[in-house]
């Protein structure tokens, strides 16, 4: 068995682990990162994507390694064991850089009331920190990615500094939508208009030659992989950390957290294809995402900790949340020309907060520049359907009861000039919106290791119980009503609303809080039960809010650097 030693051992080389590592090596700490996945070669990933006939979000990273399994996009249950009444549909990848490889780049801050849902609206729980505690760290995270944004955009937050990078221009499509939505308001809050705003994005508006990153060139491929590195992913931060001395071991899956009799963590046992190793250190950081982090903690059962590490509260693995994503899509009256920009450049953010949160979850509205690629398919899929027209189109999101004016079964096949014109006329008018609906924490929604069902890595697969609550269902209901207004305002001749879908925003399985009886980590992300163990990532979020989580993950990670340093000095 090989041994590794460092001041700080970090499990997980995604955005949280990478930012922590960079912060620490900048302060001359000795850092080791253990990453289950492998290094991703961007050029090979893009080539793999282009050369695969049946492309999906996993394609650039395929095949999934037996030594680092994760839920495949097309069938998450190849990895998850699901026991609840509702399907948990979000996935992630294992790779150095983590799931930021195929995130959208949306870099929103949470709004102040997101941190105090219980005290403001009487639902969920309050965070042990408020917006003012994290504002500075949001800015630090925005500088690191960097985030391009519009200082004047109505996003519901107060900024103390301008965005570090100038905004990504709105698309032609955004501007048509903005005009069409001018008079629309929320059905249950008429005072709130659907004001379209430029979305802050972890995407370059200017090249960064030092990092071999180009400015965005509109390849419309942010998901699954940006071909030019314009969109931030954590591999850039990892590279900076390595240049300053951080050591990274890839293809290394942590499988047990060792402790001494005082409850201090002493080492991380991990497996590689060539055998097991132990990483010892002074401080340990778990940053392995909201599924794998609690799984590792719960797998680390011992006589001393029969319920796993950090779990005296019995909260590890509980309160699993996601944004339940409801799509609406249609064919606009006016040509909007999708597929020629970042996947999303604008949204509606002012709808994320209001008194309605006493009764239903909030949502944000993402305006897509990607046509119908998400719910239906790319133009080649459209073309195949137009050509055969043997029945209704395949909607990936299972919404057949929710469509209006869909063109079904025509007697003839399309070919020739008519086929070509129909492709053109459909694609130019395709529009898609995503509503990210907020759910409440529920301790019954949880992930536990399935000790009797092992994955290809020989370790327990994640077993998930998931049930949508009435709060999010009420949000979805208002979302669909709002979507109807939006599609009508755009004169859409064909309209669809999808069933709820996973947004990939997996949150809440090692919640932070002041009370060790009801939470896993404190406000500084230190584990209540183990003084030299920190947990980073979206698993620490007490509530999910309605904004994409990545910038908050990054801000919390940077905020925790100082406390890890303090712990090192002790």
């Amino acid at each position: 068995m090989s041994d590794y030693n460092a001041d700080v051992v970090i499990v997980g080389g995604g955005i949280a682990g990478a930012l922590m590592a960079l912060g620490l090596v900048r302060a001359n700490a000795n850092v080791l990162i253990i990453e289950a996945g492998v290094r991703v070669d961007r050029n090979k990933g893009i080539a793999n994507y282009m050369n695969t006939p049946d492309r999906n979000n996993d394609t650039p990273y395929s095949p999934i390694s037996n030594s680092a399994p994760y839920p495949p996009m097309m069938n998450p249950d190849d990895y998850y064991i699901q026991t609840g009444p509702d399907k948990f549909q979000s996935n992630y990848i294992k790779a150095l850089g983590g799931t930021t490889w195929h995130w959208l780049g949306t870099s929103l801050r949470f709004v102040p009331n997101d941190f105090k849902m219980k005290s403001e609206y009487g639902v969920g729980v309050d965070w042990p920190i408020g917006y003012n505690d994290i504002e500075q760290w949001y800015y630090e995270a925005e500088k690191e990615l960097p985030v391009s944004g519009d200082d004047e955009a109505p996003l519901g937050v107060k900024r103390n500094n301008p965005y570090p990078s100038s905004m990504i221009p709105m698309t032609y499509l955004d501007k048509i939508v903005q005009k069409a939505f001018a008079d629309i308001s929320l059905p249950d809050a008429p005072e709130i208009k659907l004001e379209v705003a430029s979305t802050p994005q972890g995407r370059l508006s200017k090249p960064e030659p030092d990092q071999q990153r180009l400015a965005c060139c509109g390849s419309n491929n942010c998901i699954p992989m940006c071909p030019v590195g314009a969109k931030y992913d954590a591999s850039f931060t990892i590279a900076k950390a390595e240049a300053l001395g951080a050591v990274v071991i890839t293809n290394a899956t942590a499988k047990f957290i060792q402790t001494d009799s005082d409850g201090n963590v002493t080492g991380i046992l991990f497996q590689t294809p060539s055998g097991d190793s132990i990483a010892t250190g002074k401080v340990f950081v778990l940053a392995a995402h909201a599924i794998e982090t609690p799984k590792l903690m719960l797998m680390s059962k011992s006589e001393q900790y029969p319920n796993g590490i950090g779990n005296s509260s019995d909260q590890v693995g509980r309160n699993l949340m996601d944004h339940n994503c409801v799509l609406s899509y249609g064919l606009t009256k006016e040509r909007v020309y999708p597929y020629q920009a970042p996947l999303s450049t604008s949204g509606v953010e002012v709808v994320k907060d209001g008194a309605f949160r006493k009764n239903r979850g909030a949502f944000r509205i993402e305006i897509g520049n990607d046509g119908w690629s998400w719910p239906v398919g790319y133009p080649e899929v459209l073309a195949t359907w137009l050509m055969k027209r043997s029945g209704g189109r395949t909607h990936r999101m299972n919404n057949s009861t929710n469509s209006k004016n869909e063109k079904v079964i025509l007697a003839q096949n399309l070919f020739g000039e008519k086929l070509r014109q129909d492709i053109k006329n459909n694609v130019m008018h395709e529009i898609r919106f995503a509503f990210l609906c907020e759910q409440l924490p529920d301790p019954n929604n949880r992930i536990v290791p399935a000790f009797d069902k092992l994955g290809t890595d020989g370790l327990p697969r994640p077993q998930i119980f998931y049930k949508l609550d009435d709060y999010v269902k009420a949000s979805i209901s208002v979302a669909v009503e709002t979507q109807q207004k939006m599609l009508d305002a755009l004169g859409c001749t064909e309209q669809h609303h999808s069933s709820p879908w996973g947004a990939g925003h997996i949150v809440g399985t090692t919640r932070m809080g002041n009370d060790p009886k009801t939470s896993v980590v404190d406000k500084n992300l230190k584990c209540h039960d183990h003084k030299n163990l920190f947990i980073l990532g979206s698993s620490v979020f007490p509530t999910v809010a309605a904004s994409n989580p990545t910038l908050t993950i990054a801000a919390l990670a940077l905020r925790a650097v100082e406390d890890v340093q303090k712990m090192l000095k002790q």
Binding site: S219, N221, Y378, P379, N413
Partner: protein
């Protein structure tokens, strides 16, 4: 002898030789194969709605070879060509195509296979479905303003303006 074989019959013989027996083309077929490729391009153009000059030579060769080696039905593309009288007709009327091709399920399937190969940039091979050239998926060209995703489409911010549509 050769003069007594019509051009269409000759093509059928060559195609059958390639598709069925998988033997090398018959002596003297190579020149006719070139012609056949041009004819395949013409047939492809009629079915997909593009101009013959839009149809890429290399792709035409790949797709035609695939169809001969892995025929979706027991109908040769030359039959579609003959049905539409493409050796004399430049652009058959849609109702003629409907009558001659799309009234027959087998010919419909063959026509759809040809269209699918061009539009999706994928074809059947001995190793399964393969991508011929991602950058040349004709479904994207058909839009008049796009190239397939994952390729740079212009300078930063170009998307703010209405695109030029061909």
């Amino acid at each position: 002898m050769q003069n007594k074989i019509g051009r269409r019959q000759f093509i059928v013989i060559c195609s059958a030789a390639a598709a069925v027996s998988m033997l090398p083309l018959l002596p003297g077929c190579s020149k006719r194969s070139d012609l056949e490729l041009a004819e395949f391009k013409k047939l492809s153009a009629v079915l997909t709605g593009f101009q013959v000059t839009d149809m890429d030579n290399d792709l035409a060769a790949i797709y035609y070879k695939s169809i001969l080696e892995f025929p979706p039905v027991d109908v040769n593309p030359s039959e579609l060509f003959a049905d539409l009288e493409l050796d004399t007709v430049v652009t058959p009327a849609p109702n003629i195509i409907e009558q001659k091709i799309y009234s027959d399920p087998k010919k419909t399937l063959l026509a759809n296979t040809i269209i699918t190969y061009w539009l999706s940039g994928s074809f059947k091979s001995k190793d399964g479905i393969k991508v011929s050239d991602y950058q040349q998926m004709y479904a994207w060209k058909a839009t008049g303003y796009l190239i397939p995703n994952a390729q740079c489409r212009g300078d930063f911010g170009f998307w703010s303006n209405k695109p030029h549509v061909v």
